[in-house]
Amino acid sequence: MNEHTNLLEIKDLTVHYVTVDGTVHAVENLNLTLPEGKTLGLVGETGAGKTTTVKAIMQILPDPPAKILTGEVIFCGEDLLKKNKKSMRKIRGKQISMIFQDPMTSLNPVITVGEQIMEVIRLHDKKISKKDAYTKACEMLELVGIKADRAGDYPHQFSGGMKQRVIIAMALACNPRLLIADEPTTALDVTIQAQVLELMRKLKAKYQTSMIMITHDLGIVAEICDYVAVMYAGEIVEYGNREQLFHRPSHPYTKGLFACIPNLMEEETTLIPIEGMTPDPTNLPTGCRFHPRCPYATEECSKTNPASKEIENGHHVKCLHI
């Protein structure tokens, strides 16, 4: 892949949570690239380290207990992990912004939504007057389909779907180059999910924002992602573009994920679950982390943690048996 077209490049990122009960190996030697203007889907089970990864990009991990041990997060050619607090604050909200999982708790209940949108606008544009910022906030609300006269309302006066729209408006208010969406539709009703996704897709196209979409819904991945990274126990086990991943899922875990999707065309009524549980992150298995649950595992898998292999152009798989 050409270096210059990559908006974001994560190299060897390792994040641990150090607690009295032990060290949680949340993210381990993670490598990831996101070309400018594209959408990357980050897929995996709960606890795979997806949220930790994106929070490490923004450096909003709770410290303590989180510690970024090694790695580089290269955004627009600069390593974010080397930046000081002040310059990082200028990037957060302006260059990279984030949409959170639960719209119910992500807005401050005692501040009007208009003010919350204005806050991010005024933080990154010191010269803008209060009145202009308010007008801009109202425009953002209109953009996500909320009437501007509701800017003076408080979050509790909105429904879940509308709150998520407010959060989207807030995230896009400064026209960021990278938008991180952490399971933006998980907490919403199915009908609202579709609306919110459609809105995000429309706005992404309008603003030409690159996006990282965390999800465990492969349907969402198929719909809006250009690239997909499958995460398991803190590692990327498979990475490729959407077509590669959907046409040729190669890692046993990815195959397992696809087998879990109900298919209306087939007669079979039972789904095939992936046996076993996600490993305890304080006590990860040796060798390949997936081997205790892997149907193809051999003796060697418990000893060697496989390196990532490129099986076709840009399609990487972390498995010994590929």
Partner: protein, 308 residues
Amino acid sequence: MLKYIGRRLLMMIPVMLGVILIVFTLMYITPGDPVDTLLGDDATPEMAEQLREELGLNGTYIERLGKYLVNLAHGDLGICYSTKQPVMDRIIQTFPNSLKLAGCSVLLSVAIGLTLGIVSAVKQYSLFDNIAMTLAMIGNAMPNFWQGLLLMLLFALHWKILPASGFDGWTYMILPAITIGTSSAAAVARMTRSSMLEVIRQDYITTAEAKGQTELKIIIFHALKNALIPVITTIGIQFGHLLGGAVLTESIFAVPGVGKMMVDAIKARNYPVVQGGVLMVALTFSLVNLAVDILYAFVDPRIRSQYK
């Protein structure tokens, strides 16, 4: 909002009636006769009987209660047995002193308690947090009268920089205000800390961080306002207590406040003063509670929308 306040004020009437009934009954069944205290040992039974008649102590329970209520409805709280002043005048003399003292102590405890609580929460488990919370525990555990005497010994007797007792100027306020303020400050600090700790783990704090907001502004604009509700409750309770209940401290430092007036009156079986004092304390307590509830609405829009 106004409707809500009006309703709450109306609801105070039965509360006050209840308070009057309880205090009146308690004083009625308490053994002891005010006449004995007033006349001393030399009094003849005839003099005692005459005085009893004058003070209206001869009627039955119902007669006396009825008379008290009728007078009260006319705004008459009765006459103080010992000074022969209307009770209302005595309250007007003493209440401002209690108010000043309570105001100073609350300001002190809010300033110290909020600061300690916020910093402790933000720097949880740090050295500062440990020291502040140990101090808060000591402040909470220390008995008022002991601390008052200690301060008096040090500042008034040993160093001679502050007056020991009386109430002739603002310097007289320092020691009693510190005495009362310490335990309130400790309570406010602990409440602020725990409330802040809960709030700074909320998602909207992460949202604010993700916007690029500075840590200080996140604490002040995003966290504090959300953490204030339980803190306001604590401050309200403390303030209510201080207004009428700083009995020990007022006695130690000879502050002529409502608390001291009531203690003296109880000792002398000065019924009208006790009743008037308790009524006043109950009234301020209710008003402070109302103020606290209004403050809630001011701080939290979710509560505000319920008041409509």
